[in-house]
Structures are given as structure tokens and as C-alpha cells.
């Protein structure tokens, strides 16, 4: 079966994730979109692993999964804190960094 | 090239990190200690730099010295290659000296936000980035250092800056990021176009010239944007005034003295020799933009009401001269440009120091409100005058040897560039020197001459009686140049005079390297 299948699929997922990151207003939803992106990456890695018939891809994929878990943990914690401080997790209301 | 694998440069580059590590483990409350450590570390770094200066073989400053070539990221064929030749030596040492002096200046001039620990640590990291960019001989390595500079400066401006620091810092950051994104693309393109064999400058210089014309032009475009933002050249300059105005004094000084030079250095070290044909195609554009920058910066200066902002704009104009020199693609012009870089670093750095101290005393930099500085703090006033004179290119001071040769070289540019165009540019650039005299003297006359503004004269007595009495000392808040300031400034002032009186000091180092470089460019152009 062709490598292109996997790669295109992951590309699609990636772009959907990107769209989500850009479009979403709710912090949690943005985090979800990021999950999409990470998964698409994993898909790629695994596909390449299969292509070269070695396991490095798998290893990297597992790394990514672990990191993703950590990221989600911290991310949600931050969301919680933000929510606690300003009763909202709408990102466009958080403009501390505005110039 | 023979790699002596001499650790000197590596030490000189990464030594500040030692200081950073030590400071990391000392609680921020002990500010004195932190200051001492920072000064010592940067001092040691400078010492290494001076040792390098002594060890440097001036006989063949065209070749890389203290070169190191170690495996780094074999996956992408990028090695840890560092080396020093006549072009990078002055800037390398200058960066060390400036950091050291700025550290000294910080002794009793910590910006308002406080927390000297973080501030000084950032400064040391910044130093690593700057020194690294000047010694790196591998494209990826260069890029890493180039970007490493960005972050500390971002925080310096964003945390220790003025009123709307966030705006300025983000603008600075995004602008430069944008630039370096394109630059990276260009680097990669260059890498692949040269057969994806190595990122080392040496390889790319030989291989890059073989890329066919149109591709070179495109790749050069990418690098052009990246470096031009850093320089900054005319259309990409608008981050500079904001960054300078908002940055703390130390930030402005380092920004003006070293960071801007990264851009021009990139042009000379990377863009020109690696893409001769691209450079040749782009030279007229660069020249025109440079001259626009000269005039435009001057006009900008004339419109300013804020001293620091005026100085910031003036450096747009001065870097215009540097770029003009580079764009001529002549040995002479590039020499002038490199000299101009150092000179501008010293002079504008000095001006920013003075501006910072003025702000520190008067709590304002509005030209309207300042006057009679010569009466309230004569020494400061004279230093300002000295720096202004140097900046407007008075012969015998460093500024002139950046400006005049650049203008001269534009009379007949190299490699069949259109002389008519460049001669026109020459005349316009000469006009720029006049404008420079205009705004600097205007600034000086407004701020230094005349009677002091009553709002800054303590106890009710009229200013002139004070001045006549000749002792400004019994001003409490407005005191003259302090000891620390003297220590930090004297080297600058001396350097300005020394290089002005005996420019050969630097040209002797630069010339052979530049000659070789121009030959490279020449060989690349059919």
C-alpha cells in the first residue's frame, strides 16, 4: 500500500488542526486542535517507520505522545488558572501581550 | 584550510555562560554580588578577547585563524566551525568590550524594573550570541547564534523598557523573526542548491558561486530581507526607533553598537561571497535603499522631539552609509563599511549612554524642555558635543572614516555597476552629511546651549548666577558625570579619537581580508 495515503491523511489532519488553532476561541478547543496536529505528526512518523522498515519512527512517535500528554496536563492547568483569575477562557479576551 | 582546533574562540564565546551559571545559583536579592559577577565575567571575556587580539597573526589576516572544526549535527551535515579573520576580529572584540562597559555602567544604573540578576544574566547570554555570530563559520551555527541574540534583547526591552515597552519589544521580535524566517529559507535553499554537502562557509563560498544566475538572485532576496531588517535598511527600519526609544540605556547601547552590525556583517560575510551574481544584481537596489535611508533618516531626525528617538533615527542614516559602501562591491567601499560599523557602534553607543544619563537626571528627553546642559553639567554637555561632532563625521574622529570613504567609493563602483547611478547616489549621500550636521547641531544647540530650563533648577536662584559662580555641584538631583559613568565612557571616547586619528589601526586588519573577499565576489561574476 502506498505511503502517500498516510502522508496525505496526516497532512489533512494537520491542516484541520491548524485551522482549529487559528479559529477557535475556547482555550480547551485550541488545545484539542493542537492534539490533532500532534497526532498527524505521529501518523507521519509511523508511516515513515514502515517505509524504511525500522522502528525509529515508532520511538519518536512514543516520545511525541509522552510530550503531548505533558503538554495537555500543563496546558489545562494553565487554562484552569486563567479561568480562576478571569472567569473566562476565551482567548481573545486574554490580550496581556497586546501592544 | 588548516584547523588548528584552538579552543581560544570557543572559550571567548562561551565564557559568559559560566557567569550565568554561577549567578543562577545565587538568590536575586544579593544584587551587589550579581553585579560583581557580571562585571568580572565580562571582564574575563574581554581579557580573552584581548589575548586573541594579541595572538592574532596580522600578517595573514585574510585567512581564518584559531579555526576549529568539530562534528556537531552530522545528520544535517552542519559542523561546529568557528574561526576569526580580519573582518570579524574588530567586531568580535568590540562586542566583548561593549558588554563589559555596559556591565560596569549597570553598577548604579539598573533600569527601573529592577532585578539586576535577570538583567545581567540576559546581557551575558546576549554577549554569547553576539560573539558567536561573529566567529561562526557554519551557516547553521551562525543562524543559531543570530537567533540567540534575539530573545535576551526581547526581554530586555519588554521587561526593563519604557512606557509602551510591550509594543516595542513585540514589534522588534516579530520583525526580526519575519526576517530570519526568510533568511533561514534562503540558507536552506543555498544548502540544497550547493548539493546539500555542507553548511560550512568555506564550502558554500566555493560552491555558491556556481549556482546559476536566477536562483542566486532569489536566494539573495531571502537573505537580503533577513539582514536588511537587522541593519535596518530603509523600508524595514521602523522597528528601530521604537525599540531604541523603549529599550533601557544598556539595551539601546548594545543594540546600536553590536546588534545592528549583525545585519551588515551578514551581508559582507555571507550574502556577498556566497552569491556573487545575486549580490551584483541587487547592488543597485541596496545602494538606492541605502541612500534613501540616509536622507530619510536625517529627515526623521529633524522631526523628532525626543532626544533618544532622534539618535535612533540617526543610526538609520549612518547604517545607510555603511550599506552604500557595501553596495559598491569595491574593496574600498567594503573597508569603509566595516570601519563605519565599528565607528557607528562606538559613537552611537556613546550618544545613547549620554541620553540614558540625561534621562536618569532630568526624567525627560524632550528636546524642548532640556537646555543649558553645559551650565548644569558641563562635562556631560561637552561629552555630548564630542559625540555629536564625531557622529556628524568630523575628520580626526572615527565617524569620518566610515562616511567619507563610503562616499568616495561610490564614485566608481566595482564590477561594471552603473557608475552614473552610483555617482548620483554619491551626491545625495554627501547631502546626507549636511543634513546630519543640521540635526545634530540643532540637537546640541537646543539641549546644551542656553540657560537651563527653570523647572530643573533647584533652589530659586536664577541659573546664570549659578553658572557664573561656576559650581554646579549644589544641584542635588542634577549632578555631573559620575565616576562609574566615567569608567564606562572613557574607553568609548578614547577609541573614537584613536580610530579617528589613526584609522590604519583597523584598516590594516580589515584590508587583506576584504581584498580576498572582493576577489571572491569578482571571480563569481562572469
Amino acid at each position: 500500500m502506498y505511503a502517500v495515503n498516510f502522508l496525505l491523511l496526516s497532512a489533512a489532519l494537520f491542516c484541520i488542526g491548524v485551522f482549529g488553532v487559528i479559529a477557535r476561541r475556547n482555550a480547551v478547543m485550541v488545545l484539542m486542535s493542537i492534539e490533532l496536529i500532534l497526532n498527524s505528526v505521529n501518523l507521519n512518523l509511523v508511516a515513515f517507520a514502515l517505509m524504511n522498515n525500522d522502528v525509529d519512527g515508532h520511538i519518536f512517535a512514543l516520545f511525541v505522545i509522552a510530550v503531548a500528554a505533558a503538554e495537555v496536563g500543563v496546558g489545562l492547568a494553565m487554562v484552569l488558572m486563567i479561568y480562576r483569575n478571569r472567569r473566562s477562557i476565551a482567548l481573545d479576551e486574554l490580550s496581556e501581550m497586546k501592544g | 584550510m588548516d584547523y588548528s582546533n584552538n579552543a581560544l574562540l570557543t572559550i571567548g564565546t562561551f565564557l559568559p555562560l559560566v557567569g550565568v551559571l554561577i549567578m543562577m545559583f545565587i538568590p536575586g536579592s544579593e544584587e551587589r554580588t550579581h553585579k560583581q559577577i557580571a562585571i568580572v565575567t565580562s571582564g574575563l571575556t574581554l581579557a580573552v578577547g584581548i589575548y586573541t587580539l594579541i595572538q592574532f597573526d596580522y600578517g595573514n589576516s585574510a585567512t581564518l585563524q584559531f579555526a576549529v572544526n568539530e562534528e556537531w549535527i552530522s545528520v544535517i551535515k552542519s559542523n561546529y566551525i568557528v574561526g576569526l579573520d580580519g573582518i570579524s576580529l574588530p567586531l568580535y572584540v568590540l562586542s566583548m568590550a561593549v558588554t563589559f562597559l555596559v556591565a560596569i555602567y549597570t553598577w548604579n544604573n539598573v533600569p527601573d524594573a529592577g532585578n539586576p540578576k535577570a538583567f545581567l544574566m540576559l546581557m551575558l547570554v546576549l554577549q554569547v550570541g553576539m560573539a558567536g555570530s561573529f566567529v561562526a563559520q557554519d551557516l547553521i551555527l551562525f543562524f543559531v547564534f543570530f537567533e540567540l541574540v534575539l530573545l535576551p534583547m526581547y526581554f530586555m526591552i519588554g521587561v526593563w523598557g519604557g512606557e509602551d515597552r510591550q509594543y516595542a519589544s513585540l514589534k522588534f521580535f516579530l520583525y526580526t523573526m519575519f526576517g530570519s524566517a526568510l533568511m533561514l529559507v534562503a540558507f536552506l535553499a543555498l544548502f540544497f542548491q550547493t548539493g546539500a554537502e555542507s553548511f560550512s562557509f568555506e564550502h558554500l563560498m566555493s560552491a555558491g558561486a556556481l549556482i546559476d544566475h536566477d536562483v542566486q538572485v532569489w536566494i539573495f532576496a531571502g537573505m537580503f530581507v533577513g539582514f536588511a531588517v537587522k541593519v535596518p535598511m530603509f523600508p524595514f527600519h521602523t522597528w528601530l526607533p521604537d525599540a531604541h526609544t523603549q529599550a533601557p540605556t544598556q539595551g539601546s547601547v548594545i543594540l546600536a553598537a553590536i546588534l545592528l552590525k549583525l545585519g551588515t556583517y551578514g551581508f559582507v560575510r555571507i550574502a556577498l561571497p556566497m552569491l556573487p551574481m545575486g549580490a551584483h544584481e541587487w547592488a543597485p537596489v541596496i545602494g538606492i535603499l541605502a541612500v534613501i535611508g540616509i536622507i530619510y533618516g536625517a529627515l526623521g531626525c529633524l522631526a523628532q522631539t525626543d532626544m533618544k528617538r532622534l539618535i535612533a533615527f540617526s543610526s538609520v542614516a549612518h547604517m545607510g552609509f555603511v550599506m552604500l559602501g557595501i553596495s559598491t562591491l569595491t574593496t574600498f567601499g567594503i573597508n569603509a563599511a566595516l570601519f563605519g560599523m565599528v565607528a557607528h557602534g562606538l559613537i552611537t553607543g556613546m550618544l545613547f549612554f549620554v541620553a540614558g544619563s540625561v534621562k536618569h537626571r532630568y526624567h525627560t528627553l524632550e528636546i524642548k524642555r532640556l537646555s543649558g546642559m553645559l551650565i548644569q553639567m558641563p562635562k556631560m554637555g561637552w561629552i555630548l558635543g564630542f559625540a555629536a561632532m564625531a557622529s556628524l563625521g568630523l575628520p580626526g574622529l572615527a565617524g569620518f572614516w566610515g562616511e567619507f570613504p563610503a562616499i568616495l567609493s561610490a564614485y566608481n563602483p566595482g564590477f561594471g555597476l552603473n557608475p552614473t547611478l552610483f555617482r548620483t547616489l554619491m551626491v545625495v549621500a554627501a547631502l546626507g552629511t549636511v543634513l546630519a550636521a543640521g540635526y545634530l547641531l540643532w540637537l546640541y544647540q537646543r539641549t546644551a546651549f542656553g540657560e537651563p530650563n527653570p523647572e530643573f533648577v533647584s533652589h530659586g536662584e536664577p541659573a546664570h548666577s549659578l553658572s557664573a559662580a561656576g559650581n554646579e555641584d549644589h544641584h542635588d538631583e542634577i549632578h555631573d558625570v559620575s565616576v562609574v559613568e566615567w569608567i564606562a565612557w572613557t574607553p568609548f571616547l578614547l577609541a573614537i579619537v584613536v580610530f579617528g586619528v589613526y584609522p590604519q589601526l583597523m584598516f590594516k586588519v580589515l584590508d587583506p581580508a576584504v581584498v580576498q573577499l572582493v576577489e571572491r565576489v569578482g571571480n563569481g561574476i562572469p
Partner: protein
């Protein structure tokens, strides 16, 4: 270094480079330790000037020897002359000619080099340089002595002397310049120091503005200097490098300019560019407005910088690089050229302006401008030697006049320079000042047997001789006007009734406003209601003392006088010796310096010593000389450069010959085929030629005297109650009546219809149009700057950036700043950029 058998050199010539070095060192000494010295550093300045003067004198002596050695020396003697340092030149014997070119004493050291271009410092000593060196050191010395008294007790006494010394150093560096770079160096140092010195009393805005204006105006000219140097450099470098020199070397430039290969277009542009610099520095016509304003500086400064040295720099540049101008603007081939035209215009304009000045220093300032016009015109019409000679004489008498004016204000008019209000009848009080002033005035007006006569008339005469008829008349008119305005000034200052301070009245001359016309109310009152005067005076004096109590150095000239009460409130009296001695020395020179080159009495030393030729080629050479210029290749040709000083007629023919043959070569250097100085022909001095100018001078002087008597004699205000007075007169003596008729005539007809309208118009044009243009240019530039900044920089460019890749906007600002602070938008930006980058990569990889 240059020891040769016949062409003597000598220690002083070899080491002339010490002359500027000494003051330079002295400057740093004064700056460093001056404050702690008993005399506040002035002694160092004076000592250094003395040393330089001694060296210069020695060099002069040895130079004269050198010249005579050439005259006496055999041809072989020329062989060993060094041309460009370092390159031994082939013997001139091969070229075998007798019109020897006295090789300048050239030494140079590499300053720095880059890209094969070598910048050198050194010395280029020839007659011209020697002459100016001598004058500068001498005058600087006198002025410094004078200043010790004049700015005594000033708060920045030390700085003042430091700046004066540095100024002299700058001038000397420039005069000695061996390369254009060194020339620029000295030139700019002078610019800087003039800025410092004019703005010496910077507490007053007006002074610092004047300083700013001076520096800026000159700087505008400097643009031309930079560009011109670049042009000439690249024009000459090939030629020069072929001869082991480089395109900055002044000698190389001269040689190149007269060589066959020189591209006339390059020369023309170079000459024009350089001349712009001269216009700025020497206050020539369009850019002369800074000079009068520069009078805001202390009087010694005016007399040193703005009469005898700095403003001469422009003229010196033209004289120094004369071949460039000679060929570039082909002087002698055309009846008109840029230099001459500008010079001529300047003469007339400036002279006209001098009529309407009330400030004595401004009269002198305009007269300086006018005299500089003479020098320029002289160079423009090919009268090199007279023009240079005029530099020489003018330096003495103009310096003397300024110092005299200073002395008047110092001791006579209580620190005022207003001739109408505070002077008059001073001859009784200040005999020495008066005498020196008169002598110098005569010299300036070109009265026979005074120095000015011999230089100025030579210029005028040669203008005619070289076929510049128009400028001949311009010169004559100028002479008449000079006589006229100087008479007026003299009359107002020294004759008639003492007025204002001169009469021992003390209105507040200390008030900075006085010089800047903000105090006219007070003056009006003083003039019209004398009763009120004492009151006002009392108040004013009180104010003055109040100021002095503070030792306040305010804006108007000559302050910081709180301590020297000796003249503060006494009536007019003679100045102390430190002022009068320099005056007397200069006065003497104003008379006798002219005899160095007075054909009238048969002395032509100046020409021999200064002109770059050691041998006067007699008439018998002239035919071959005439032939010369058809082919300049043949060495023989140079044998007798066209140089018929003795025979104007033949010289005139040579003039024709020159035209046919392209550049004419006057004196050929030791290298064959190289020619360093253009062919100049000199008009023979005949008394008959001087008659018109003498007559015109006399006419001008007398007319002006009549006017003065009429306008200022006896009464304060000539324009009131004339008829009434005429009735009285009608009843009075016939002589008086006639006189009054004349009065009437002059005032009504001439004064009203001619003098005032025309001169005032000129002044108005000057103030409002030319000056207005300068100021307006500055102002509009600033406005443009503001506009560009506001609209383009802040809106367009910045905006373009800010708008990139962004949507959200919250401020009412025209565009949306990048920093919305919204994570999503950063995301959009990031990924967008990434996508673009990827695209580029892909494209490049295809």
C-alpha cells in the same frame, strides 16, 4: 632629506610639518591643564604661536634661499630635486630648459591605506604655503596677545584660548596639506572651532544660532568639497599612480590637470564641486550670509577667523589647486567663468550692503566679503599672483580694522558696536586706535602707497589685461564703493559729535538684547527725550551692575567684564597696551606689506618667491613660448613657459597662443612632460593704468564724506526739519547755506533716491530672499521631515508591517497593530509564514 647641490633646502623647510603640530599639542595641553595655570592657559597658546611663527619665519627664509638658488643654479642643479617624496625623479637637465619650476618641499607619511588607496599626511611647501603659513602664525599670535586683554575675566577664558589655538592648528594643517584628505581635515577642524568660537557666549540663543548658521552654511559647501575630492581623485589617480603618487596628492592633481590626458569634463565638474566649497567657506555670493552673523562672536574671533584666515581658506583652495580651475573652467580662454562671476557679484553686493550697517563690525564683515570677492575674481581672471598677494595684504589691514573696532567697543563705546548710537568723535579719545584705523582704511580703500593699493590694483589691472573687461569695471566700481562705505564708517566712528556711550552716557550696553534690536524702545527714548535719559541711564547702570555682580557672561560681545571696572563706567579712553601694541604692529604692516610686490617702486619679491617659478623668462623666449602651446609634448616647449611679466604685449599674444594650444604650461617640473603650473601672463604695472581706480577711489571717498557730513554732521536726525534749517541757513553765512543746499541736494536727491532705496533693497534682498532661502530651506526641510515622519513613516511603512497577516483591530488607529495579543492571530501568522516558507523551499527545490 632633500639635500641638493644648488637647490638649497634646510631644516626649517624639511620640518615645516612641526608648525601645525605645535599648536595641536598646545591645544590638548591647554584643555588638560589650562585651568590650573596662572594665566589660564593663554600663555601656552601664545608660546605655541610664537614657536610656530619662528619656524614659519625660518622656513620662509630658507624658501627664499631655495628660490634664489634656482635662479642662480645651473640646470643640472635641478636634477636632484625630489618630486613626489620617495620617487627620485629624472634630472631636469634632460629636459634642458631654464624656466625652472621651484620644486616644492614635499614629504609625506602614509596615514592609512585601504583597498590600495593610500591616504597620506605630509607637507607641501611652496611659495603659496609659506606665505600663508607666515601670515597665519603671525596674525594668530597678535590676536592671542590681544585676546588676553579682551576676554579677560571671561568664564570660559581657558576654553577660548584652547579653541583659538586649535583653530590656528587647523588652518596650518590645511595650508601645509600635501593631500586632499589632509586638506579636508584642516578645513573641517576650522569649521568646528569656528562653531565653538562664534558660539563662545552660548548662553544667549542668538549667538548659538549664529554659530549654528555658520557651521551649517559652511557645511553645505563642504558637500562640494567631498564630492569634488572624489571626482578629482578618480580622475587623477591613474595618471598619478603611473608616477608613484596617488590621486589625493595635490602636486599630482596639479600635474594631471595640466597634462594632455586630463578629461576636461571631469576637471570641469571637479572644479565646480570644489568651488561650491569655496563659496561656502569664503562667504561668496549666495552663501555669504553667515559671515555677518558670525560677528556675534568675540571681536578677536572675528578678526582672526572672519577676516584674515578662515574665510581665506576657500580662496586658498582655488589658488592651491589652480591648475584644476584653470583648465576645468578654462580661464584665459573665455571672457567669463564661474569663479570670476561669483567673485564679481560678491564684490558689488557686499559693498552695497556695507552702506546700511550701523554695527561697525558688520560693516567690516561685509567689506571682508567684498574683498574676498576681489580675491576670487582675481583668481577667476587669471591674476593668480595679485590675488594671492591680496590675501597677504588684506590679512594685515583687515585684522587691524577688526582689532581697532574691538578696541573701540572695549574702551570707547562701552561694549557697544552701534556706530550711530554709541560712537562718534572718538579720534580725540583714542588716538592710537584712530591712527591705526585710518592707515588700515587707506590700505583697504586702495589709496596709493598703502598696501591694499598694490594688490587690488594689480587684480583690476590684470582683469583688463586678460581680457575680462567686464570684471575690470566691476573691480573699479567696487573700489569706489569700498572707499565710500569706509569713509562713512570712519566718519561715524571717529568724527562728529560723541554720541551715546562715546559721550560717556551709559545705557545698558551689557544687555544682550542690545545687539539684537530688542531694546530700540529705550534708544528711541534716549534720542528724542533727553530729559528722560539720566533716569533711564541710572536704571540701566543699576541693571548693569546687577549683572556684573553675577559676573554674568550674557549674549552681546565682550562680556564677563564684571571685574574690570577700569572701563566699565568711565568715559571713552585709549585701550591698554596689550590691545594697542598689536594694533600698531598691524597698522605698520598695513602700510608697508604692500612694498613686497610694488611694481610702482620696482619690487617684485613676492612674485618671485611665491609664484611657482624661480626664473623670469624674458621677452626673447616668448615666441617659442607661443609656439609651445601647440604641442605640449616637446620638452623644449616648456623651456620658456609663457611668462612675460616684463612684457604685457607679448604676454597678451601668448594669451592668444595659449587659447589655440589648449592648456598653457607655465613651469615644468623636473619630470619631463609634466607641468605643474599654468601659464600666467602679468600685466605690466603702469601708473596710467591705475589712474581710473585712484580717481574712482577718491570720488567714492569724497562723495561718501559729503554724504556723511550732510547726514550725520551736527544733527542727530537729518531727515527732520530741513526746510526750517534752510531758512536759518538762508539768514546765515553763504557758505553754510551752500553747504546746506548741498545737504539738501544730497539728502533729497541722492540719499533718498539712490543710496537708501538701492542699498536698502540689496540689504532687503539679502535679508529676506537669500537669507530667507537659507532659513526657509532649513524650516521647510524640518517640515518635510515632520510630514514624512508623520504620514509616511508612521502610517505607510509602519502600517504596512503592522497590517501584515492581521485582522483584529481595536484602537481607532488607521491600522491594526501587530500586537493584538491574541494567540490565535499569532498562530495564523506563524503557520502562514511557515506555509510561505515551505512554498519558497518547494519552488527552489523543483
Amino acid at each position: 632629506m632633500f639635500a641638493t647641490e644648488a637647490l638649497t633646502s634646510g631644516w626649517f623647510l624639511e620640518n615645516a610639518w612641526l608648525i601645525p603640530l605645535i599648536p595641536t599639542v598646545a591645544f590638548f595641553v591647554i584643555l588638560g591643564f589650562g585651568k590650573r595655570m596662572p594665566q589660564g592657559g593663554s600663555e601656552v597658546g601664545i608660546a605655541s604661536m610664537m614657536a610656530s611663527l619662528v619656524l614659519a619665519a625660518g622656513a620662509t627664509y630658507q624658501w627664499i634661499q631655495r628660490v634664489q638658488s634656482v635662479e642662480g643654479g645651473s640646470e643640472g642643479a635641478l636634477g636632484a630635486i625630489r618630486g613626489f617624496a620617495g620617487s627620485a625623479l629624472p634630472s631636469a637637465a634632460e629636459t634642458g630648459h631654464s624656466a625652472a619650476y621651484v620644486e616644492p618641499v614635499i614629504r609625506h607619511w602614509t596615514w592609512w591605506q585601504s583597498g590600495g588607496i593610500e591616504f597620506t599626511l605630509g607637507q607641501h611647501i611652496d611659495g603659496l604655503a609659506i606665505m600663508v603659513l607666515l601670515v597665519v602664525t603671525f596674525i594668530s599670535l597678535l590676536v592671542q596677545v590681544y585676546s588676553t586683554e579682551y576676554v579677560k575675566g571671561d568664564r570660559r577664558y581657558t576654553h577660548f584660548f584652547a579653541a583659538l589655538t586649535l583653530f590656528s592648528a587647523g588652518m596650518l594643517i590645511m595650508v601645509l596639506a600635501e593631500s586632499m584628505v589632509q586638506f579636508i581635515l584642516g578645513w573641517e577642524i576650522m569649521g568646528l572651532t569656528s562653531f565653538l568660537l562664534i558660539g563662545h557666549w552660548w548662553e544667549d540663543g542668538a549667538n548659538s544660532r549664529a554659530a549654528l548658521k555658520a557651521f551649517f552654511t559652511v557645511r553645505v559647501g563642504d558637500m562640494g568639497l567631498l564630492v569634488g575630492t572624489a571626482i578629482i581623485y578618480f580622475g587623477a589617480s591613474q595618471w598619478a599612480q603611473a608616477r608613484g603618487s596617488n590621486g589625493f596628492s595635490i602636486q599630482a592633481i596639479s600635474g594631471w590637470a595640466l597634462s594632455e590626458g586630463a578629461d576636461s569634463k571631469v576637471l570641469m565638474w571637479g572644479a565646480v564641486a570644489l568651488f561650491i566649497a569655496c563659496i561656502g567657506k569664503s562667504g561668496q555670493f549666495p552663501l555669504h550670509t553667515w559671515l555677518p552673523d558670525a560677528m556675534a562672536g568675540p571681536t578677536p574671533v572675528s578678526s582672526l577667523l572672519h577676516s584674515s584666515t578662515m574665510v581665506v581658506a576657500g580662496v586658498y583652495l582655488v589658488a592651491r589647486l589652480y591648475p584644476v580651475f584653470f583648465v576645468g573652467l578654462d580661464i584665459l580662454d573665455t571672457g567669463v567663468n564661474l569663479v570670476a562671476v561669483i567673485g564679481g557679484i560678491t564684490i558689488i553686493i557686499a559693498a552695497a550692503l556695507a552702506f546700511v550697517q550701523n554695527d561697525i563690525k558688520k560693516v567690516l564683515a561685509y567689506s571682508t566679503v567684498s574683498q574676498l570677492g576681489y580675491m576670487m575674481m582675481g583668481l577667476g581672471v587669471g591674476a593668480w599672483t595679485p590675488a594671492v598677494f591680496h590675501i597677504f595684504t588684506h590679512a594685515f589691514f583687515k585684522c587691524c580694522l577688526f582689532l581697532a573696532a574691538g578696541s573701540i567697543s572695549h574702551s570707547g563705546s562701552h561694549h557697544s558696536f552701534d556706530m550711530k548710537k554709541d560712537m562718534g568723535g572718538l579720534r580725540k579719545f583714542m588716538p592710537i586706535t584712530f591712527a591705526t584705523w585710518m592707515v588700515s582704511t587707506f590700505a583697504l580703500c586702495g589709496v596709493p602707497f598703502f598696501s591694499g593699493f598694490f594688490s587690488k590694483d594689480e587684480i583690476i589691472d590684470n582683469a583688463n589685461h586678460n581680457g575680462y573687461t567686464v570684471f575690470f569695471y566691476v573691480g573699479l566700481i567696487g573700489a569706489a564703493m569700498t572707499a565710500a562705505y569706509m569713509t562713512r564708517a570712519t566718519y561715524l566712528t571717529f568724527f562728529g559729535q560723541p554720541r551715546g556711550a562715546a559721550a560717556g552716557e551709559h545705557h545698558d550696553a551689557h544687555d544682550p538684547a542690545h545687539a539684537h534690536g530688542e531694546e530700540h524702545a529705550l534708544d528711541e527714548i534716549e534720542e528724542h527725550e533727553h530729559v528722560a535719559e539720566p533716569v533711564l541711564v541710572g536704571a540701566a547702570v543699576a541693571a548693569t551692575q546687577g549683572d556684573d555682580g553675577h559676573g554674568h557672561g550674557g549674549g552681546h560681545d565682550d562680556h564677563g567684564h564684571g571685574d574690570d571696572g577700569h572701563d566699565a563706567h568711565a568715559g571713552p579712553h585709549e585701550s591698554p597696551w596689550r590691545i594697542t601694541v598689536p594694533l600698531m604692529i598691524l597698522g605698520t604692516l598695513a602700510v608697508f606689506s604692500g612694498y613686497l610686490n610694488a611694481p610702482a617702486v620696482g619690487t617684485e619679491y613676492f612674485t618671485e618667491w611665491v609664484e611657482p617659478a624661480g626664473v623670469v623668462v624674458g621677452a626673447e623666449h616668448d615666441e617659442s613660448g607661443a609656439a609651445t602651446h601647440t604641442d605640449t609634448e616637446e620638452p623644449e616647449a616648456f623651456a620658456s613657459g609663457v611668462f612675460g611679466r616684463a612684457t604685457p604685449l607679448l604676454a597678451a599674444e601668448d594669451g592668444e597662443a595659449t587659447h589655440s594650444g589648449g592648456e598653457g604650461c607655465g613651469f615644468e617640473g623636473p619630470t619631463e612632460g609634466v607641468c605643474y603650473a599654468p601659464a600666467l601672463s602679468h600685466a605690466e604695472f603702469k601708473w596710467i593704468n591705475t589712474v581710473p581706480s585712484i580717481l574712482l577711489v577718491a570720488f567714492g571717498a569724497l562723495t561718501s564724506l559729503w554724504l556723511c557730513l550732510g547726514i550725520f554732521g551736527d544733527r542727530k536726525n537729518p531727515f527732520k526739519g530741513l526746510t526750517q534749517r534752510n531758512r536759518l541757513a538762508g539768514a546765515g553765512h553763504r557758505f553754510l547755506v551752500n553747504k546746506y543746499y548741498l545737504d539738501d541736494l544730497y539728502e533729497k536727491v541722492i540719499v533718498h533716491s539712490v543710496a537708501h532705496p538701492i542699498a536698502k533693497a540689496a540689504y532687503w534682498v539679502n535679508q529676506n530672499i537669500i537669507d530667507g532661502v537659507v532659513n526657509g530651506a532649513g524650516r521647510s526641510t524640518k517640515r518635510t521631515g515632520e510630514w514624512v515622519y508623520r504620514n509616511i513613516d508612521q502610517r505607510v511603512v509602519d502600517g504596512a508591517v503592522n497590517a501584515s497577516g492581521l485582522v483584529a483591530s481595536e484602537t481607532g488607529h488607521a491600522l491594526q497593530p501587530v500586537q493584538s495579543g491574541k494567540v490565535n492571530q499569532y498562530g495564523a501568522l506563524l503557520f502562514g509564514a511557515a506555509a510561505v516558507g515551505a512554498i519558497v523551499l518547494v519552488l527552489l527545490n523543483v
